[in-house]
């Protein structure tokens, strides 16, 4: 279903961040940084070695999915915009969809040396920004987090913690050395 690209790994020694290659343009995404943490843009995922940290700024209906293996100290963060690759119109960028992005990133993590049976996951985001919308098709936040959980289950990756739903946007900081996620929501800070 999805083209898996092991050659998509590019290690940038200066930045010590392995950047995910966007399938669409065959171009390495330029990571930008906030306080030394690499920012994962909308529809992207990044994989790193500890002690790197990754950030998703302003997750609204998007969902942030962190997958990590603490034993080998390798982890990654996805900033997925839409739920399913199969339902999407744009087939060129598989990292945009929750299900395909998880598969792609798991492959990359394993490629880097992470042990698949030891992978764990945490998810955050998937808010319903506009509270009036009642139809499920328009509740992209809910569908994003549901598909993310479903895909993790299919991949046999245990979901350790989640902070999804609600009506407020979140900014999340993923720490690859202990697998924790710090969440800023509505001016409050919490950790999962």
């Amino acid at each position: 279903m999805i083209e898996r690209r092991a050659e998509g790994l590019v290690t940038d020694e200066d930045k010590r961040v392995t950047l995910a290659r966007r399938v669409d343009e065959d171009q390495v995404c330029q990571a930008h940084y906030v306080d030394g943490d690499a920012v994962v843009g909308v529809g992207e995922y990044h994989v790193v070695h500890a002690p790197e940290k990754l950030v998703c700024l302003g997750l609204g209906s998007c969902v942030g999915i962190a997958i990590f293996d603490l034993s080998t100290q390798i982890g990654g963060l996805i900033h997925a915009m839409l739920p399913k690759y199969e339902e999407g119109r744009d087939k060129t960028n598989a990292s945009k969809y929750a299900d395909s992005a998880i598969m792609l990133m798991v492959d990359e993590l394993v490629e880097m040396g992470a042990r698949k049976p030891l992978l764990k996951a945490k998810i955050a985001g998937g808010a319903q920004m506009f509270s009036f919308i009642s139809s499920d098709t328009l509740n992209i936040g809910l569908r994003n987090s549901a598909v993310a959980k479903e895909t993790l289950k299919k991949e046999n990756i245990p979901l350790l913690a989640e902070d999804v739903g609600g009506t407020k946007g979140r900014t999340i900081f993923f720490n690859s050395s202990d697998g924790s996620i710090r969440i800023q929501k509505n001016g409050e800070v919490s950790q999962i």
């Binding site: 302003g58 609204g60 839409l82 119109r89 920004m129 506009f130 009036f132 328009l138 992209i140 979140r170």
Partner: protein, 204 residues
Amino acid sequence: MTESREQNEMIMDGLREIGTIGAAHASTALSELVHKDIMIEVSDCFVCSTQELPTAFSTTEETVVAVFLEAIGKSRGGIMLVVSQKMAIELTDLVLGREYDENHCFDEMDADAICEIGNICASAYLNAVSRFTNITMMPSPPGVAVDMLRAILQFPAALVEADSDSSVVIKTMFKYGKNVGFGFMLYIPDRESQLVLIEKFGSM
């Protein structure tokens, strides 16, 4: 909307024209509502691709107030009004007939009032679009969100992605009393309306 440059220019002119007409109608309706003059002018208009939408604005960390409406009819789409929190309160002050209070926080009443403003702007704009495309569209009941601009923009971006690939960003200037403020209208046409718009303006 990946047409030649020349054709693109024509489409942009057309969209700007629609924006201007919509803004004029919205000005009139809003001024009547508050019995004061509110001028709405289009200062800029551009088409933006889906993925760029959350990054097309420079101040994405700022907390903004957004009103989103779905266009319902023969053809669908989304329409959103985005203004800064300060400006939202200034506008709702006018609607609710309140004096400006620096310490006032955006509350339920403001949310309702800004929904109404969004509703008026969206209806006026959709009307203008309908007149050009001959596709009748009605706005759905509005929804409001107060959050980081970046987080808010993901919603229309995801909608756009599901059904179409570009959205029209109309930078609008609101002049009310001594105040001048900038806001954005986002119009996200579905594939069908997009094709109709291209056909109309591309061959004028």
